[in-house]
């Protein structure tokens, strides 16, 4: 039996049990020994050659990673640059990328990271700890750069210190224990010091932001990743080719990536992405639950494509937020009243939203944490069942009686009605808005829908320019990384703006907070400075429970991840309800 067959069989066996894949993954890794990327990326050993063509939703703004906030640029650059470590696609645990191993000191204040040896930049220069120190001290923690990571590289107000030990070892030191330190290191791709240090990011951040613009000679953009930039045609295509110095090896020790070329076609319209995909011009597309049934039918009918579903951390669960500081005093009092928010939660028909809006490709949400992951605390029992009677009962108990016209009245005698801002250019959001409006009408509450552009949703929310709003923030692997959202006073904690700190101050206004908000604030403050993960978990459990009980916002559902790829793609598959693929491990069958 050759190795390829063995791998195929191993992969086949993985579908059988829940534990089996984990075990066989371990066995596989031990047998091969040579692979330096997670073995679970491989369903089979691939063959070299070909072009992988993917869509890009808009024109990238720059090739300078920390100078722009642009997911389209990041999509391209993530093939060119590597991070120190990354989350495993199956286990969601940290695995080394440029880092080979790491140790955390007993007091949880010093993390020592050993780097992979023999890694070279695509121009042949050796990769060393100097590149890491440069990236974190000069660039990633530089608050004058637009996409800096300073917030995650700071604990209790003091920046982390990065110290070189030797060419392939460095230390991260903090004044207080920092439980999310490893997670914080996953955010920054490592930049080549020999290319970028001459532009002096510390002294001249404005000038530094202008280097590596999209008209830069591609040879200048030097990375350690599997691919490197070859050419860019504005608004049409980005072409990458295999990095000859790529360090990645598959389980048989073959160099990765398998594909010779990786091309991104710039296609803005999601419908056209699907059309290009069906026409065979694209190998893979990101899709939504709404497109899933259509494409699944195509898969069954033609066999030319494969459509996968799975769960993931990163999808954004929509939530319903009420403006605690709305100018209208009656509404303000109502929105701040937990009984009212509970009544509104009873009116949210999650089952119908999952079935009708997401075609079944969504599940019950967590409160700030993705269900099924390490930090998740099961709050599902607090979500309650959809019941318009109970919602009506709670509204009655608040004295919001129905008038002769069926509309409920506020204490002043005015009709109970308020605005509901949502993204009208998002298919699921519009559908959710319609369902809510319809259900609330039946219990005498008038929801005035206000559709706005998805792109302006956040500025509308953080500007306090709404009465109630349908918003969504993406989940992250560690709650510490989302404290700006969930810690009261955080800059994305938009529903209670009156507790935001005064300009120039870092302390939120505690006297304006509800008791449970103070508790949550304290939880985040403590958890940030703890090294012990189980202690942190205990704190974050309590935060999730407090959120589920007090409903700062009403979580709606957690969408699944879905993906569609051409049948000719190898190592593009789903296992254990995870969708597994990377651009360097996929190949053309």
């Amino acid at each position: 039996m050759n190795r390829r067959k063995l791998l195929k069989q191993a992969a086949f066996g993985m579908g059988l049990g829940v534990l089996a894949p984990w075990l066989s993954g371990k066995v596989l890794a031990q047998q091969a020994g040579q692979a330096n990327v997670p073995a679970n990326l491989f369903q089979e050993i691939g063959k070299r050659g070909g072009t992988l063509t993917l869509p890009l939703g808009s024109t990238p703004q720059s090739w300078n990673y920390f100078a722009v906030i642009d997911n389209f640029a990041y999509t391209v650059l993530n093939n060119i640059f590597d991070r120190l470590m990354q989350l495993d696609q199956v286990t969601f645990e940290l695995v080394g990328v440029l880092a080979e191993s790491w140790t955390i000191s007993k007091d949880a204040r010093t993390t020592t990271v050993k780097l992979r040896s023999g890694v070279k930049w695509s121009d042949g220069t050796p990769f060393t700890a100097d590149d890491v120190i440069f990236t974190f001290t000069e660039v990633a923690s530089n608050t004058n750069l637009r996409a800096n990571q300073a917030a995650t590289l700071t604990v209790a107000g003091v920046p982390l210190r990065f110290e070189k030990v030797d060419d392939l070892t460095f230390r991260v030191v903090s004044n207080k224990p920092y439980g999310a330190v490893l997670q914080a290191l996953t955010f920054s791709p490592i930049m080549p010091r020999h290319k970028l240090a001459p532009f002096k990011p510390r002294e001249d951040p404005g000038g530094y932001s202008r280097v590596w613009a999209t008209n830069t000679d591609p040879k200048e953009i030097v990375g350690t990743g599997p691919f490197m930039l070859q050419s860019y045609v504005p608004d049409q295509k980005v072409t990458l080719v295999r990095n000859p110095n790529s360090w990645r090896r598959d389980p048989q020790g073959n160099p990765l990536p398998y594909f010779d070329r990786l091309e991104y076609l710039i296609i803005r319209d999601p419908n056209i992405q699907v059309a290009q995909f069906l026409a065979g011009n694209l190998d893979q597309i990101p899709i939504t639950g709404a497109q899933f049934p259509d494409l699944k039918r195509q898969e069954v009918a033609t066999g030319k494509i494969r459509v996968l579903r799975g769960s993931t951390i990163y999808t954004s669960p929509p939530h319903w937020g009420f403006n605690f500081d709305v100018p209208n005093p009656e509404l303000r009092e109502l929105f701040r009243n937990l009984t009212f928010r509970k009544a509104m939660q009873f009116a949210v028909n999650r089952k119908r939203i999952i079935e009708d809006v997401y075609n079944g490709l969504a599940s019950l949400p967590g409160h700030g944490v993705a269900p099924g992951t390490f930090w998740y605390y099961d709050t599902r029992s607090y979500l309650g069942e959809w019941s318009l009677e109970r919602a009506a009962g709670l509204l009655d108990s608040l004295g919001l009686r129905r008038g002769a016209d069926g509309q409920r009245r506020l204490p002043s005698g005015k009709v109970l009605e308020f605005g509901f801002t949502y993204a009208s250019d998002s298919l699921p959001f519009s559908a959710i808005a319609a369902i809510l409006q319809n259900d609330l009408r039946q219990i005498g509450v008038k929801l005035n829908l206000q559709g706005i552009q998805q792109g302006t949703l956040l500025s509308t929310a953080t500007g306090g320019n709404f009465e109630s709003i349908l918003m969504a923030y993406g989940d992250q692997p560690d709650p510490q990384l989302r404290k700006d959202i969930w810690q009261p006073g955080g800059q994305l904690n938009y529903w209670h703006r009156s507790v935001w700190p005064e300009r120039g101050s870092s302390e939120p206004k505690f006297d304006q907070m509800f008791p449970w908000e103070k508790n949550i604030w304290e939880i985040f403050r403590q958890a940030e400075q703890l090294g012990d993960q189980s202690e942190r978990k205990r704190l974050y459990d309590r935060w999730q429970l407090l959120s589920a009980q007090n409903l700062p916002v009403i979580m709606i559902v957690k969408p699944d991840a879905v993906a569609a790829g051409h049948a000719r793609l190898g190592n593009f598959y789903a296992r254990d309800s995870r969708i597994i693929f990377t651009n360097f491990s996929m190949f053309e069958k």
Partner: protein
């Protein structure tokens, strides 16, 4: 004539100034701004935003920003794109080629097709072919261009084609020019031509038809016929030349559509024109890009009007004598 042109150019300067003040004011009136949008990313702190605000002089009063921008224009500097960290002029220039090519081609195709059709439908008012053409015209006017685009793409897909969107197949985009690449472009080009041109063709066709019908009922046409001129001469020398005059003024208004009219069609069809670039800048409040493009559009409108006036004077002797 020269006097006239000079006078028009002199009038244009204060007009453009006024437009720039208005546009600048409108941009400032929008809720939120480029920097507020940045906060969307969890990694951007208020501190970073304040630093960048200073970097880009956005902490200055609006009128200082405006004067700064105006000073740049005088020196030929159109400002900086916040979004792309590059000079605005470079970014516009990168997209100018395909924008002008597509716009010129569609305008040309529109006129070449619409004028004869307009004449034809005017002369054969009640014929079946005119009815069909009129129907197509109404359809073209009534259907939004993105819908036409999606319909055409659906038809191509159903018939097994692969030319759905873009100007080239993927492998030709960055290939050097060759006969095969040219053929590939022709294979793609017809969809954008129809999508962008259908509306204009229908408009011009119907206007030409209405104008010609109007003219054909005039006394001087009857006189021309009565004095025994050949129908060919009556039509081309007397009727069409008069009927086409109003359309020339209309042509002047078409120049600014170079920038704005193809936004949605370009987004849907993945065309590398200025339209989607303007759209992105508007959404992200990239104010100097928006300013540059809107001013360009205003300049084109004035240039277009001027050209139309000159052309009109050239075509119609009566205007010259006035």
């Amino acid at each position: 004539m020269l006097n006239f042109v000079l006078r028009r150019i002199l009038v244009a300067i204060p007009t453009l100034l006024l437009i720039s003040v208005l546009v600048f004011a409108v941009i400032q009136l929008q809720p939120g701004g480029f920097l507020e949008n940045l906060l969307e990313d969890p990694r951007v702190s208020r501190e970073t935003v304040e630093n960048i605000r200073r970097q880009y002089l956005l902490d200055q009063p609006v009128w200082v920003q405006y004067l700064h921008w105006l000073g740049g224009i005088v020196r030929g500097d159109f400002g900086y794109s916040f979004l792309n960290s590059r000079p605005v002029s470079e970014l516009i220039w990168e997209r100018m080629g395909w924008t002008v090519f597509l716009a010129a081609l569609t305008i040309l195709a529109t006129w070449v097709i619409a004028i004869p059709l307009g004449i034809y439908t005017a002369l054969n008012r009640y014929g079946p072919s005119s009815t069909v053409l009129n129907f197509v015209g109404y359809f073209g006017l009534a259907t939004p261009d993105f819908l036409v685009a999606l319909l055409l793409i659906y038809l191509v897909l159903v018939s097994g084609g692969t030319t759905v969107g873009g100007l080239f197949s993927p492998q030709y985009i960055d290939a050097p020019w060759s006969w095969a690449k040219f053929q590939d472009m022709l294979g793609h080009l017809w969809i954008p031509l129809i999508v962008i041109g259908l509306d204009g063709t229908a408009t011009i066709m119907r206007q030409m038809r209405a104008n010609l019908l109007d003219v054909l009922n005039q006394d001087y046409i009857r006189t021309a016929r009565a004095k025994g001129l050949a129908e060919r001469v009556v039509l081309w020398k007397h009727a069409v030349r008069n009927a086409i005059n109003p359309l020339i003024s209309l042509a002047g208004l078409q120049l600014p559509t170079l920038i704005s009219s193809t936004i949605i069609a370009s987004i849907v069809l993945s065309l590398p024109t200025i339209g989607p670039f303007l759209y992105d800048s508007l959404l992200n409040k990239d104010q100097y890009v928006v300013m540059a493009l809107l001013m360009l559009s205003a300049v084109l409108l004035m240039v277009g009007n001027l050209l139309a006036d000159i052309l009109l004077a050239w075509v119609d002797p009566r205007i010259r004598y006035e």
